[in-house]
């Protein structure tokens, strides 16, 4: 197990998550994909931090996790709101913010 393999793994999961974000039609599925991406990034930071033996990476990831929690809360509220108002959770149909 080396840093390189950790990073490869992180990048792979990040790419899978990116695919899900771009391709899936359901809003919550997109949010889940975003979580995957976040998670991958956190993994990469921790891996690098471990390889250099410094702690700031870990602290950064702690912060990131907290922010992620906040973000997901707000995001899910938006999805609920959209479901209630526009009666749809398909991202393609939520397209009024344009022009």
């Amino acid at each position: 197990m080396s840093v390189a393999s950790v990073l490869w793994l992180a990048f792979a999961v990040f790419s899978v998550g990116l695919f899900g974000l771009l391709a899936r039609r359901h809003a919550i599925a997109a949010l889940l994909s975003i979580e995957l991406m976040f998670n991958a990034v956190n993994l990469a930071i921790v891996g690098l931090s471990w390889s250099r033996g410094i702690l700031s990476g870990v602290v950064l990831v702690l912060f990131a996790i907290a922010i992620t929690v906040a973000e997901i809360a707000v995001g899910l509220s938006l999805v609920l709101l959209a479901a209630r108002r526009a009666k749809t959770v398909v991202l393609d149909d939520l397209s009024e913010l344009r022009g």
Partner: protein
């Protein structure tokens, strides 16, 4: 021994990610995410950061995922019609991203590094007292804002 554990956890993580993007039922996708998150926690352990692993399981898997499942229950977890939009373009772009990122994997130390990320006390001191005290306070403001925002948005008669 360590390597084997890592590879197992890696497989689990990737498998979970695959489930997230390919499951038609969102509940299944949520559980796929759970698997990926737990696998990550396992890898954090292997990377000698047990605090982080604990936080990962508590907050991420326990908190975020629960929220997500509740949302799925309220909103509905299936989408009628096609599951993907423009899958080919998305796949192309994802592949491109992976290739672009892969160029970062160089100049890395090849020997296994020293252990030592498990100094919980050191983390605590750095976090609360010395380096990141102010950002820590600001983080709590952020969490407050998020909570208020979420409450506001999700009210029965909307944010208006």
């Amino acid at each position: 021994m360590r390597d084997a554990a890592f590879w197992v956890l890696a497989a689990l993580m990737l498998g979970g990610a695959a489930v997230v993007v390919t499951a038609r039922s969102l509940v299944r996708a949520a559980f796929g995410l759970a698997a990926a998150l737990i696998a990550t926690a396992g890898i954090y352990l292997l990377l000698t950061a047990p605090l982080l692993a604990a936080v990962q399981i508590l907050l991420y898997t326990g908190g975020v995922l629960t929220l997500v499942v509740f949302a799925i229950v309220v909103v509905g977890g299936e989408v009628s019609g096609a599951m993907y939009r423009k899958p080919l373009a998305a796949a192309a772009l994802s592949a491109g991203t992976f290739i672009a990122l892969s160029s970062a994997v160089r100049g890395l130390p090849s020997r296994p590094p020293v252990a030592g990320l498990d100094a919980g006390a050191a983390i605590g001191v750095s976090l609360f007292v010395r380096d990141y005290a102010v950002p820590f306070e600001l983080l709590s403001v952020l969490l407050l804002a998020a909570v208020i925002g979420a409450l506001l948005l999700a009210r029965k008669d909307g944010p208006a």
